[in-house]
């Protein structure tokens, strides 16, 4: 199934990427080539095969439901581009 520039624009929206108009054709072309490569998956008969999400089929290990971390807010916010009073600042969301 061929992929159009509109399809790629929709995926870019979902991925929160901004692709400039002038590169859209090129991006779509490369995207299509990757999809052609991964289409080889369809050659494999996978009827009844259980999907594998962890190479050792490991179960998620759970820890005790106890507070173990101290408050390091100031330290953890240091790399943030914009903070105020312990909050991350973003452009106005509600007018």
């Amino acid at each position: 199934m061929p992929v159009t520039t509109e399809d790629v624009a929709q995926v870019a929206l979902l991925a929160r990427l901004s692709i400039p108009e002038e590169t859209m054709e090129d991006v779509t072309g490369r995207f299509t080539r990757v999809l052609e490569l991964v289409a080889e998956l369809q050659q494999v008969d996978t009827d009844g095969v259980v999907p594998m999400s962890n190479p050792h089929d490991m179960e998620q290990r759970l820890r005790a439901d106890a507070v173990t971390e101290e408050n390091r807010r100031d330290e953890l916010q240091k790399p943030a581009p914009s903070v105020e009073d312990g909050y991350f600042l973003v452009p106005r969301v509600i007018d």
Binding site: L17, V27, R30, F31, V34, L41, M52, H56, R72, P81
Partner: protein, 492 residues
Amino acid sequence: MNSLDLSSATAAQLISALRAGTISSLELTQAYLQRIEKFNPAVNAVVTIDHEGALASAAAADQARAKGAEGPLTGVPLLHKDIFCTAGIRTTCASKMLANFEPPYSATVVEKLNAAGVVTLGKTNMDEFAMGSSNETSYFGPSFNPWDLKRVPGGSSGGSAAAVAAGLAPLSTGTDTGGSIRQPASLCGITGFKPTYGRISRFGIIAFASSLDQAGPMTRTVEDAALMLSAMCGLDANDSTSADVPVPNFHTALNGDIKGLRIGLPKEYFSDMLNADVATSIHAALKELEAEGAILVDVDLPHTRQGIATYYVIAPAEASANLARYDGVRFGHRCDNPTDLMDLYARSRSEGFGDEVQRRILVGTYALSAGFYDAYFKKAQQVRRIISEDFKKAFEVCDLIAGPSAPNVAFPVGAKNDDPIAMYMEDVYTLSVNLAGLPGLSVPAGLINDLPIGLQLIGRPFDEETVLRAGHRLQLRTDHHLKTPQIGADQS
């Protein structure tokens, strides 16, 4: 300085000299920093040098040794791939997105190696977010292969491989999601080991594809890899996928022979995709293992080719989820004057990520999106199980699987830039090993026109010992791993 030649010195040799007191860690660290200053402009393997920090920890290492409080690697200089968070040292993942990021904590691997006594010299170049096989997607420009500066060192741990090959450090760390330790090790003529998935904690390693990512040592010799690996492994409460299995002494595991060891040769690894000269060298290395008493047997890994497609769905899908955290809000690059929240997200991400990273996020997002999930992501996870079963079947008739690490020697810089698919093919022999979560070692197996190639040895899950022992036996018989490129030979 004394007779130590740092262009070829191993960590084991340096440890002996430090123990004997013929050299101090401070002298050693200064000498490596000088080598970095001298040779790095040509290879661009190191992106951050921690001059002061290195000298301070070298002085501390010398004091610890004087007090008899040394660890297994006390005073030995090391470089970290710039994907490992290092508190107080910039950690960029070779991306504009993290160009000014100073992590508030260190990776577990970094902490463990510090506890073992290493001296961190700095951070190495890599493909952006570890996505690439040539080191050309780095925001800091490509690293170059010390054997031929017009060629790539491989990737994504290209800087780590080039640094060890050029003698800028005896040890470096790498990560391997689809071959990112083994392929550059092969192309730069060093030893690189990706242990079993779960052996080493992923905590503090900037995530690419969480079900595939694994850290490992990049060194001159298998002996050094064993020394380093022993310090890196272990269960970590901060990584729920780190394995709760005992950690053997990998150095001791090198002892013993490989008589009667059955080594499987997958015919798919010796198909027409493989460069004929590489094939000849690989067969010569296998003859050496045979002379050590190993028995070569034929095995099948019938879905090797489909491993590429499987990987290029699963890895981008996981990456698209992992890289969603770069939103311009909490850390990382933020665009100027965003008009609204959506604009802030989209422009920060598209300004911060390079082309290959954005391409993989797009593919991954597509593979996970409604309507395509079953055809791509679920299908790839099913094929992943089939590939894993192929390996299990092969290991019923052999103890180890051997083949090339990469189909070719290092290619010229720029040669595959216009064709992402050609680049992806470089990883045909390594990708499946990550899909199955197995340990894989690349050891030097000779030179073709002065360009190195690597033999890959693949083991059963958590059987790193057999893999390392076989690699060590090869290095006891051959001198491929002792060869060094011209560039670093010039003594400073």
